[in-house]
Each structure stands twice: as structure tokens, then as C-alpha cells.
């Protein structure tokens, strides 16, 4: 009897949710029709008539909106994936440093985490772009010649040219997310019993080796869930790129929406693209998580 009641209750909640969703969608459709904004995606095949400063794939203003949005998505993907790698390295280094035996390293890491986490990301982005990077000289005869140049027109390393906009977004995202990852890593390290640290130290292993071979593997299951949520945050925060002129997906959508007047469709596509991207990140992290847990069970 109790079981049936519980099932009925759950069923009711599901029905309620579905009804609510149906009402909202219907409401949207009715209102769209009423204001003459009926959904249409035919504009996607029309030429855009605007140029993009950065494109990994060939692009010209005579290409379609769909292609422009895709090129924007690739630009987003580019900065997000580079950001994920950089933020992870930075975060793991800073997080480990907070449990280091070296007091200077500990203090530096603590300062980094506390300062960066107190300042809004948009302000940091503006700082990196307008103050740090655009404050560089227009051209500088670098002593390293063609190996490395750093000007306010861009950064070139070994022939690879990075725009100032890309560099600023990458710096802001990885430094900001790195600080949060450092906290996640520190939490994970703290979850490993003190005895393990003492054990590898008494074995005469160096700090670095002990951390890598003994502590980090045990901390990993505690780190991964927090890490994936930081990764998702980084991906979402990348939309701030529009503020400093990096042609990411949001920036391209923004222009497309004003030129076509198709705000609802534009935002639907935008939502869908980010949902896809984050599902991808989430999926990869889940796989990783499962692998780590399985390995933990085996040993």
C-alpha cells in the first residue's frame, strides 16, 4: 500500500512537471505567433555580410550565417580547450603548492588563490586585455627575434601567432579557474590520511615523487567531481569573450541576431550549442571518474 502511494506521488510530480513545461512551451509559441515572431531558421543559409577577425576555417562575409556560427563555435572550442589544459596545470601546481613543505611556495599559492577568487572574472578579463596586453608597445624588437614576440598586436611563439583577444581570454579563464581548481585539489589532498604523507616521507621519497606516486592517485577520486564542475564553469564563462572582441560563438550570434532580428532562434541555437559542449565535457569527465574508481577498487 505504502509502495503504491509512493509511486502515485512520483507520477503526480512527473505529470505536474510535464504540464508546466507544456504550458510554458505553448505560451511561448502562442506569444511568438501573436507578436509575429514565428520561429524560422531560413536565415541560416543567407550570407552574413560581416567579417570575422579570427577564423580557424576559411571564412568570408559571403558565407552563410550557419557557417559563421560554426566558425564562432570552433573559436569558442579553441579557447575553452586551451583554457582547460592551462587551468588544470595551474590549479594542480597551486593546489599542491599549498601543501608543500616550502613556506614561500605555500604563501604564494595562498595569495594567488585568495586574490583571484575575490575579483569578478569580467574585471580580470578587462585587466588582462586593456591593461596588461594592450599596454604593451606597438612593436618591440625582441631579443629572441622570431622565436618569441610580444606586442599589443598579438603574440607569436615559434611562428604560431595568437591574437591579443585570444590570449587575454585564455589568460583570464585559466588564471581564474586555476584558483578554484587549486582549492579542489587542496581539498582532495587533505582527504588523504596524514599517515600516507608521513609514510612516503619516511621512505625517503622526494616531495614531488611522493605527491605524484602516493598522494595524488589517492586524492583523485575526491578531486574529479569538483574538477568537472570547474571545467563546466570555464566553458560557460568563455562567453565573456564578447566584451573584449574575441569572435566566439556568443559574439557571432550577437551580430547575427541583430542583423536578422531572429533573437529567439539565435538564442535557442546558442543554448543548444553550449548544452552540447558541456554534455561533451561532462561525458568525458564521467568516463574518467569511472576509470579512476575502477582502478581504485582493483588495487
Amino acid at each position: 500500500m505504502k509502495g503504491t502511494r509512493r509511486w502515485l506521488l512520483q507520477l503526480a510530480v512527473v505529470v505536474l512537471l510535464l504540464t508546466l513545461m507544456g504550458v510554458l512551451i505553448n505560451n511561448l509559441a502562442v506569444n511568438l505567433l501573436r507578436t509575429g515572431l514565428g520561429l524560422s531558421f531560413s536565415w541560416l543559409s543567407r550570407p552574413t555580410g560581416f567579417a570575422l577577425a579570427e577564423h580557424a576555417l576559411p571564412y568570408s562575409p559571403s558565407d552563410s550565417y550557419a557557417w559563421a556560427l560554426f566558425v564562432g563555435w570552433i573559436n569558442s572550442l579553441k579557447v575553452i580547450s586551451a583554457g582547460l589544459v592551462a587551468a588544470t596545470i595551474l590549479g594542480v601546481l597551486a593546489g599542491s603548492a599549498r601543501r608543500s613543505t616550502n613556506p614561500l611556495l605555500r604563501a604564494l599559492a595562498a595569495l594567488y588563490v585568495s586574490v583571484i577568487r575575490q575579483i569578478p572574472l569580467l574585471l580580470q578579463l578587462f585587466f588582462w586585455y586593456f591593461v596588461a596586453l594592450l599596454g604593451l608597445p606597438q612593436s618591440n624588437p625582441s631579443p629572441l627575434g622570431s622565436l618569441f614576440t610580444l606586442t599589443n598586436q598579438g603574440i607569436a611563439v615559434l611562428g604560431v601567432h595568437l591574437s591579443v583577444e585570444f590570449t587575454a581570454v585564455l589568460l583570464a579563464l585559466s588564471v581564474f579557474t586555476g584558483a578554484s581548481i587549486a582549492e579542489v585539489v587542496r581539498g582532495g589532498l587533505d582527504s588523504v590520511p596524514r599517515g600516507q604523507w608521513e609514510a612516503f616521507r619516511s621512505l625517503g621519497l622526494s616531495e614531488r615523487l611522493g605527491l605524484r606516486k602516493v598522494v595524488l592517485p589517492q586524492a583523485l577520486p575526491a578531486i574529479l567531481p569538483g574538477l568537472s564542475s570547474q571545467y563546466l564553469n570555464l566553458a560557460k564563462n568563455s562567453t565573456l569573450a564578447i566584451a573584449i572582441g574575441y569572435s566566439d560563438l556568443y559574439s557571432v550570434s550577437d551580430t547575427s541576431i541583430t542583423q536578422t532580428g531572429r533573437a529567439i532562434e539565435g538564442f535557442l541555437l546558442l543554448l543548444l550549442s553550449f548544452l552540447l559542449l558541456n554534455l561533451l565535457i561532462n561525458g568525458v569527465m564521467q568516463l574518467l571518474n569511472r576509470a579512476v574508481i575502477r582502478r581504485g577498487q582493483r588495487s
Binding site: 502515485l8 506521488l9 507520477l11 503526480a12 505529470v15 505536474l16 504540464t19 508546466l20 507544456g22 504550458v23 505553448n26 505560451n27 502562442v30 506569444n31 501573436r34 507578436t35 509575429g36 515572431l37 555580410g49 560581416f50 567579417a51 570575422l52 577577425a53 562575409p61 586593456f130 594592450l134 599596454g135 606597438q138 599589443n152 598586436q153 591579443v164 583577444e165 564578447i242 566584451a243 573584449i244 572582441g245 569572435s247 559574439s251 550577437d254 551580430t255 541576431i257 541583430t258 542583423q259 532580428g261 533573437a263
Partner: protein, 349 residues
């Protein structure tokens, strides 16, 4: 218990549905404005001379005075306005969803915005003939567009500016890299920091931005005009009453300048019209005779109230863009037709 929840949810669904379909009737927004006794005016708030939020919390500028003129004509009170600050991408959605009654926000009048198959809004007459221009640092030695070959240009996204820039450069076969910022303030910062050789926007906005620079003389607006940018107030499409009322308020401002009726002397003109029955045209214009106001759904004396609140078009222009204002822009094509400009109004008959 679960069944009760179900009924409640169904009832809620029906009610929401009713809300969605309600208000579909053909009533004009003009009636709604008069009923609520407030005009919701969408503005930019960031362009000195047009609409700018000053340090004391008041808006001022040409676009703001147009809102005030509309409020005076529709409601009889030039201060009965709620201003909504809108970004360029937000503005049309805000208008169509009814968040604002009308826009007075540096908006270019063009076909795809006006047509039912495009943004589907309806424009009032042009209140400022603008054009897109380019600003460069005088020290760079750039004189014409062709000197900008291969250069980087800072541009604001979400406006017609991007397309105009591309059209102009493509037509001349000049390569360029656009750096697009969402906001004009960032365009200015990027340009001043040396990210771009030039920044582009409407010439009025360039002049307004330059007025805030530390050394305005070191920046030059190129002669070339990339586009026609006739700026006009607008309302949602399919609402003839509001559209007509707005149109004739703008025409009233222009006609008043033609006749020499100003904020200071509108009372004298009204006395004169009351006394001298032979001045039929003036009597019709000021609402002493005839039913012009009623035809628009406004009070008979809407012209008098409007001029008393804001002055005529020339007065509004001089107050915000004249030679003694903070953002002087030569009146040029915005003069009356009589004086060699493009400003003129059809008869009040």
C-alpha cells in the same frame, strides 16, 4: 492527494493559457499609454548629446527630448516618462514584447527594420541625419579610407555598423581586420589603447566620444562617409494610431521651427491665434480650430503642450548639439529645408 495536485496543475495550466491569449485585441498602445499616464521610452543612455545619464541621475539629449515631446503630446506631462536603458541587440525585442512603448535610441531607419518581413517596426520621421565615419589618430598620417589598407578597425557589434564597414571596404577592394566589441565604450578603449588604427561608428557618436578624450585635437574624423544613417524614433509595427501620433509630433517640432514658434513665445502665438480669426493655418496648427488632435487620438492643443515642454526642433538641436553644447556637431543636412537642409514637414491640414 496526488489527484488534487493534478487538478491544481491543470487549473493553473488553463489560467496561464488564458493569460497568453488575452490582450490579443486591436487596442492601440497609445490608449494604454494615456491610461497608465506614463510613457515607457527605450533609450541608449550612453551617447552624449543624444541620451546620456548625467551625474545627477537625469537623462538629457536629443533622443531624451523627443521622449519628452511624445509624453507632453500624449499625456500632457513631459516628465511622465519611465526611461529604459537598452543595448543595441536588446532594443527590438524590448519593443516587440511591449516592455517599452517606443524607442528613441539612435536607431537607423532602413528597409529590413521597417518591413513586416524584417524587424517589422514602424518608424517616425528622421530626427537626425547621421552617417558612419572613421576616426583615426592624426599622428598616423591616415587621410583617406585607402590609407587603411591591411589595418585593424575597432567596431561595435550588434549594429548595422559592421555591415557598412564591410560593404565600404569590400567595394574598394581593401583588406582589413575588424575587432568587434559589444559596447561603444570598449570600442573607444581598444582604439585609444592602440589595438586598432581606426574606430568606426556614426559620425555623431565619434564626435561625442571624442569630446570625452583627454586630447580631442589628436583625433580626426575622416571625410569619407560610409553610409546614410537616418536616425528616427520607432514603435512596434501594426499600431497605426501610435505610429501616426509619433509622426505628427515630430512634424510639429519641425513646423514650429519653420513658423518661429519657440518654447518662450508659444504663449504669445496662442494668444495671437485666439484673437485673430483670419490666421486659419496657425489656428489649426495650435488646435484653436479644427479637430487635428482628435484625429490622432490626442488633445486638441497637443502642439502647444509639446512646444511648451521642449521647444521646437531647432531649439532641441541647439540645446544638445549646437555650437555651445558639450558635443557640437555642425547642423549641416539637419537644417530646415528652407536653409538648405533636409528637415521639412507636410502640412497640418
Amino acid at each position: 492527494m496526488p489527484f488534487r495536485t493534478l487538478w491544481v496543475s491543470l487549473a493553473a495550466a488553463l489560467m496561464l493559457q488564458a493569460c497568453a491569449t488575452l490582450g490579443e485585441g486591436g487596442a492601440s498602445r497609445l490608449g494604454l499609454i494615456q491610461q497608465r499616464q506614463t510613457l515607457r521610452c527605450g533609450v541608449s543612455g550612453k551617447i552624449p548629446g543624444f541620451s546620456f545619464l548625467s551625474s545627477d541621475g537625469d537623462y538629457s539629449g536629443l533622443d531624451i527630448d523627443l521622449c519628452r515631446a511624445f509624453a507632453a503630446a500624449f499625456i500632457g506631462d513631459a516628465d511622465a516618462i519611465e526611461f529604459r536603458q537598452l543595448t543595441a541587440p536588446e532594443r527590438f525585442t524590448a519593443l516587440r514584447t511591449g516592455e517599452v512603448d517606443l524607442l528613441s535610441r539612435n536607431t537607423t531607419f532602413n528597409l529590413s527594420r521597417d518591413a513586416a518581413g524584417g524587424n517589422g517596426v514602424s518608424f517616425a520621421p528622421v530626427v537626425f541625419h547621421d552617417g558612419q565615419g572613421l576616426m583615426v589618430k592624426t599622428s598616423r598620417g591616415i587621410r583617406t579610407i585607402d590609407d587603411l589598407n591591411g589595418e585593424t578597425i575597432c567596431v561595435g557589434s550588434g549594429t548595422t555598423t559592421e555591415q557598412n564597414l564591410n560593404d565600404a571596404f569590400e567595394a574598394r577592394g581593401i583588406a582589413y581586420t575588424p575587432i568587434k566589441y559589444q559596447d561603444l565604450n570598449q570600442v573607444v578603449a581598444g582604439y585609444l589603447q592602440g589595438r586598432c588604427a581606426a574606430m568606426t561608428s556614426d559620425r555623431s557618436q565619434l564626435a561625442a566620444a571624442r569630446s570625452g578624450f583627454a586630447k580631442p585635437k589628436q583625433h580626426q574624423i575622416l571625410e569619407a562617409v560610409l553610409s546614410k544613417e537616418p536616425l528616427a524614433p520607432l514603435s512596434a509595427g501594426g499600431d497605426q494610431r501610435l505610429g501616426d501620433a509619433m509622426r505628427w509630433v515630430v512634424y510639429a517640432l519641425i513646423t514650429a521651427e519653420e513658423l518661429g514658434i519657440t518654447k518662450a513665445n508659444v504663449g504669445d502665438w496662442l494668444d495671437k491665434a485666439n484673437k485673430q480669426t483670419e490666421l486659419t493655418r496657425l489656428r489649426r496648427f495650435l488646435g484653436v480650430d479644427g479637430d487635428l488632435g482628435m484625429k490622432l487620438g490626442l488633445e486638441a492643443d497637443f502642439v502647444v503642450k509639446t512646444i511648451a515642454a521642449t521647444g521646437n526642433y531647432g531649439e532641441i538641436y541647439n540645446r544638445h548639439l549646437g555650437p555651445n553644447s558639450a558635443v557640437p556637431i555642425p547642423r549641416g543636412i539637419n537644417q530646415l529645408y528652407r536653409d538648405g537642409g533636409a528637415m521639412t514637414a507636410p502640412p497640418f491640414q
